[in-house]
Amino acid sequence: MNTVTDPSNEILVDCKSVWKIFGSRAPAAVKAISERGLSKKQVLDEFNCVVGVADASLQVRRGEIFCVMGLSGSGKSTLIRLLNRLIEPSMGGIVVKGRDIAKLNAAQLRDMRARHIGMVFQSVALLPHRTVLENAAFGLEVRGVGKEERHQTARAALDKVGLTDWTSRYPSELSGGMQQRVGLARALAADPEIILMDEPFSALDPLIRRQLQDEFRQLTKSLGKSAVFITHDLEEAIRIGDRIVIMKDGVIVQVGTAEDIVTNPADDYVSDFVAGISRIHLVKAHTVMRPVAEYSAAHPHVDVGSLLRASPEADIGNLIDLTMQSDRDAIAVVDNDAIVGVVTTRGLLRSVAGHPASQATAA
């Protein structure tokens, strides 16, 4: 599993067919599922147990922001708590940094949580009787780091989230957005490789939320952290996530980049979700383009080489701008000096409207 040599591809969290079943007869239900492959409904009827997470497999790579999107009750909060064993899995294995966390003893698990997996909560959970600085230093304090050193580290973390001037205030004096920044600073101060974000921005108003999303992404990337980010908001997942997993009723419905999910929804459930999402900055030329031959066949008199050019990574917004600048109805997509495809105006309109690219025919 860890044979990947490229450090940027190193798998930090590996979740292998994990199940979580809630209820007093969970062990029996687990046995029945592995032996007879019961469905969730059968488990509920037969054992009166609720399946929180069913057969979830996912991998989080180093430096990646991995979003888990789902509505309430989809099992996303359960899933994230399985990753640091706040909830014990009923079945399946979770490997974090090469160690099977189910096999850790209490002290090793505490160490793993204190040093390697940070967590930020929707409720923020700042200790009300401590100052902002003391809250940010909490993770280091419990690890036994000296006061001077932990306050210095916490101050640096608060600088990063823009709260330099608020260190001696109490949480109640801060706005919701600022409190969540403290929550993030607290996680960052402990310097874990992986940060679990449990719907951290859901309770904030839209403007602040957007601002924090951008800051979070930038900060995570610049510090080289990996994050698992839970959200019920697909737009948030798209803004933040390198990859997105969509959950429904405890099952992972689809995993992929934002573009994969928007252009190729796995089922009707996902299509419904992505229907309202703007594709303009998501869908790239390489998805929209059609083969050159197809275009040439339809337009025999047009010289493909004379079209305006764009890179395969240009998004629809760029392509529209280019189209507006030219009197032609198509743009050539160029990769390494070779024309690899053609984007037509019609193709652009189709992708903006959300029609699958495969249906687009050269016009």
Binding site: N84, G118, L127, P128, V142, S172
Partner: protein, 282 residues
Amino acid sequence: MDISVIADTFDVWTDDALSWISDHGEWLFEFVRMVLETTYDGVLWLLQVPPFYVIAVLAALIAWRQINLLAGVAIGVALAFCSFMGLWEETMSTLALVITATVLALLVGIPVGIVAGFVRTFDRFLDAVLDLVQTLPPYIYLLPAIALLGYSPATALVATFIVAVPPAVRLTSLGIRMTPNEFIELGQASGLTPWQMFTKIRMPFAVPSVMAGINQSLMMAFGMVVIAGIVGSGGLGATIYGAIRTLDIAVSINAAIAIVILTMILDRLTQSAGRRERETGR
């Protein structure tokens, strides 16, 4: 017929048990009595050595710092009034009784409450015991107490202690159990040891409830003052009991006023301490 036999047998057993205990446990009760009386005498000595105005000014200063200037002045004047009524010594001896009993009750009640906060079955068991203690008329356990400890401040202390313990236990246990779930989760996710979870998360959140428990213990202890007077506490309780026997209404009212003053002062002071704890919290 049968039933009365059972009741009679039970009565005989109880009497036998009590006399067995007082015969064989005499050294123990003598020891308990000595410890309680020494403690009580020590506290009383502390309160009676300084003249009344020192205590009054001290209390006023504390109230000023804890609450506000008006409360400080009011408390100083009220204490001076106790002295002008000629009841200073009695007031201080009642205060000594209440403070000693409450402190002892907290020393027992808070640790027991902490354990009960963690161990659910122990909490349920305690609940039944405390219900019994709180509903039992004090006279029921005063009789054996007098039999074992004699007519003395020690008996009064025990009686007061018994009523002061339950609120301390109950509110401490409640405070421990009421830690918001999100903070428990924070503690777990931050890798806290069980001891750190207790000192850094559970205890700070329990403090307001524990403070309320301290306040309630004090109030319960004050409620026992007159009954304590009957079993030999001395102080205002004895004054009132004496006044009741001689139908001296004036004296009984004076003593009652002194009790009310003491109660209100300690109530306000402990409440404000609890409130401050909450306010820095939120």
